[in-house]
């Protein structure tokens, strides 16, 4: 149909400029940032441990057993969890922004975190220690709660303001979060026996994080990140108008559903260990859009790398600024994220994304 003319005289370059692709330089920069932040995360702490000791410990050399113990049971799992939580929150933010075509979408602002908290609280309070088919029921309940919150925010946002308005969805998410938080407070107050456990859930357990927590969330995080990553081309297509995407033969509803479920699953899992951490899903993807490009083929993979690096650094900061005490990590991300959010809101012209 299309006549392909290969000129004999002047053969033009085979590659067309402007094609979407992730440049090696940026992927390398992301990996480097991640490695550097992990280094900082491992080295920062009340007990001084040198770089040499860390390396020796990793390769199985002879080191002081006390220091090895601190590294293996405290710092390594905490850094690994930071990587999982940060990478997931950033990719989930980018995914929600693509699906809802809303630059302000964030796992926290859509109510996903509040929903996960409510689900987890109900499970801890009403059915402590239960497992379904050998799976701890708490993360499952958190997922159901997060899913309910996101679908509630979506339905409410659509019915009240229509999805043309970027802020309508977010206001709906905030309202849902407030509602869920109130129920959760009520359950918490009436179930005093489990209150400590609930508190430790909500405030996040990066503080006491161990390998158990890593193993608990790893399957959900992997599933979520892989599913979103595989949809990066389709997320680009969703930026077109509704009729245009459909006329390209893309099953829009299926794409939206799968990506939202994946992002919500990942969010629910990381809220379980990280507690309420806001704005990572706004800061990281938007910085990448600004610096590198807007294609989801770039935004999605780089969000994982830089999101992980960002959260590990934020956690290191949370441990240092008021040492020997610790700040909740959400304090750091909100402190940086809220001004950023306002900047994004100001620059959003008609929610063009």
């Amino acid at each position: 149909m299309l006549s392909v003319q290969v000129g004999a005289a002047a053969v033009p370059p085979a590659v067309l400029a402007g094609m979407p692709r992730l440049r090696w330089g940026w992927a390398g920069a992301g990996l480097l940032a991640l490695a550097a932040s992990c280094g900082v995360g491992v080295l920062v702490g009340p007990v001084h441990i040198g770089v040499g000791t860390v390396v020796q410990t990793l390769v199985g050399g002879a080191v002081d057993p006390g220091q090895a113990n601190i590294l293996w049971s405290l710092r390594f799992p905490r850094v690994v969890l930071g990587v999982l939580v940060g990478g997931t929150l950033a990719i989930a933010g980018a995914a929600y922004q693509g699906v809802f075509r809303n630059p302000l979408a964030d796992p926290y602002l859509l109510g996903a975190a509040a929903g996960a908290n409510l689900g987890a609280t109900l499970a801890i309070a009403l059915a402590p220690g239960t497992s379904v088919l050998g799976v701890n029921v708490v993360p499952l309940a958190a997922f159901v709660g997060a899913g309910a919150a996101v679908s509630g925010a979506y339905a409410l946002g659509r019915s009240v303001t229509g999805l043309r308005s970027a802020t309508g969805l977010i206001l709906a998410g905030v309202a849902i979060a407030a509602f869920f938080n109130s129920i959760q407070s009520y359950v918490q107050q009436t179930q005093t026996s489990s209150i400590r456990q609930v508190y430790s859930w909500i405030l996040g357990r990066l503080v006491t994080a161990g390998w158990d927590d890593v193993l608990l969330i790893l399957p959900y995080v992997l599933l979520s990140v892989v599913a979103i990553y595989l949809h990066r081309r389709l997320l680009d297509a969703l930026t077109l108008g509704e009729d245009e995407v459909t006329s390209l033969g893309i099953p829009v509803r299926r794409v939206r559903l799968i990506v939202v479920v994946a992002a919500t699953l990942g969010t629910a899992a990381v809220v379980a260990v990280g507690g309420t951490i806001a704005f990572v899903g706004i800061i990281v993807p938007h910085t990448i859009r600004l610096l590198v490009g807007r294609s989801y083929r770039v935004v999605i993979p780089l969000s994982v790398l830089f999101g992980a690096a960002f959260l590990v650094l934020a956690d290191a900061a949370a441990r240092t600024v008021v040492a020997p005490a610790e700040l909740p990590i959400g304090v750091i991300t909100a402190f940086l994220g809220a001004p950023f959010f306002i900047a994004v809101m100001r620059s959003t012209r008609a929610a063009a994304l």
């Binding site: 006549s3 081309r233 108008g241 009729d243």
Partner: protein, 257 residues
């Protein structure tokens, strides 16, 4: 092979009939212009052919009912150029045209080097090469229209549905866009159905015109047959003079008494 047959097609939005019992045949390689006053159902017919809206009756492309095709198969047969294409800010022209390859990819598939070559050729054909890495929001109106045509062409579908191709362009750009579509139609043997509001241009470029009024077909035929003063007065409530311009078509000129 890419002829289009509509038989008894009706479309309703929320129970409100928009297209009523329409019969229409478009030959392979033909350019049919859908004309008619605002709200006559022109866009809806295009949406029905591309299966973007559900309809009663039957629509066949190349002998096959569109309702029996998967949406990906429809997209391989029919490319749609909507009236105001949404052009995401920051997306490059090349990336935008590449989206046109979607119907040829699996659900989670990735474009092959062949897909990228096709995009490169389309971009070249439409003289967009210099602009390939420019963001869509930094194109002029005419350039945007060419980018949209390029995206549709990258689909390599034998049928091209166009909704008001010239609505926001000046007279020179209107002509160049329509000339381009006509050239492409001949080069690539495309069947073109275009909703057009500019009657003189519709008469000059289309092989046949279908006049729609209130979702029904009021007349179909050549420009000389359809564009008559009484018909336009009746259906558009417009005072016009229709002038036959010795071999350069039929001009419809508004007059003021």
């Amino acid at each position: 092979m890419s002829d289009i047959v509509l038989a008894g097609v009706s479309v309703a939005y929320d129970g409100e009939p928009v297209v009523r019992d329409l019969d229409l045949t478009v030959a392979s390689g033909e350019w049919l212009a859908l004309i008619g006053p605002n709200g006559a159902g022109k866009t809806t017919i295009l949406r029905a052919i591309a299966r973007l809206v559900s309809f009663r009756g039957e629509i066949r492309i190349g002998g096959r009912a569109v309702t029996e095709l998967s949406s990906r198969d429809v997209a391989r047969k029919v490319a749609v150029l909507v009236q105001e294409p949404q052009m995401p800010a920051g997306m490059t022209v090349a990336q935008y045209v590449l989206l046109g390859r979607a119907p040829h990819l699996g659900y989670l598939g990735k474009e092959s080097s062949r897909d990228r070559r096709i995009v490169r050729d389309v971009v070249r054909r439409l003289a967009l090469e210099e602009l390939a890495s420019r963001p869509l929001d930094r194109l002029s109106g005419g350039e945007r229209q060419r980018a949209a045509i390029a995206r549709a062409l990258a689909q390599q579908a034998p049928v091209l549905l166009i909704d008001e191709p010239t609505s926001s362009l000046d007279v020179g750009r209107q002509q160049s866009v329509l000339e381009l579509i006509d050239q492409l139609r001949k080069e690539q043997e495309l069947t073109v159905i275009a909703a057009m509001h500019e009657l003189t241009l519709a008469g000059q470029y289309a092989d046949r015109l279908a006049l729609l009024v209130g979702g029904r077909l009021a007349a179909v035929g050549s420009a000389a047959e359809v564009l008559t003063e009484p018909a336009i007065a009746e259906h558009y409530r417009a005072q016009v003079k229709v002038i036959q311009m010795n071999g350069s078509g039929t001009a419809v000129v508004p007059v003021r008494n």
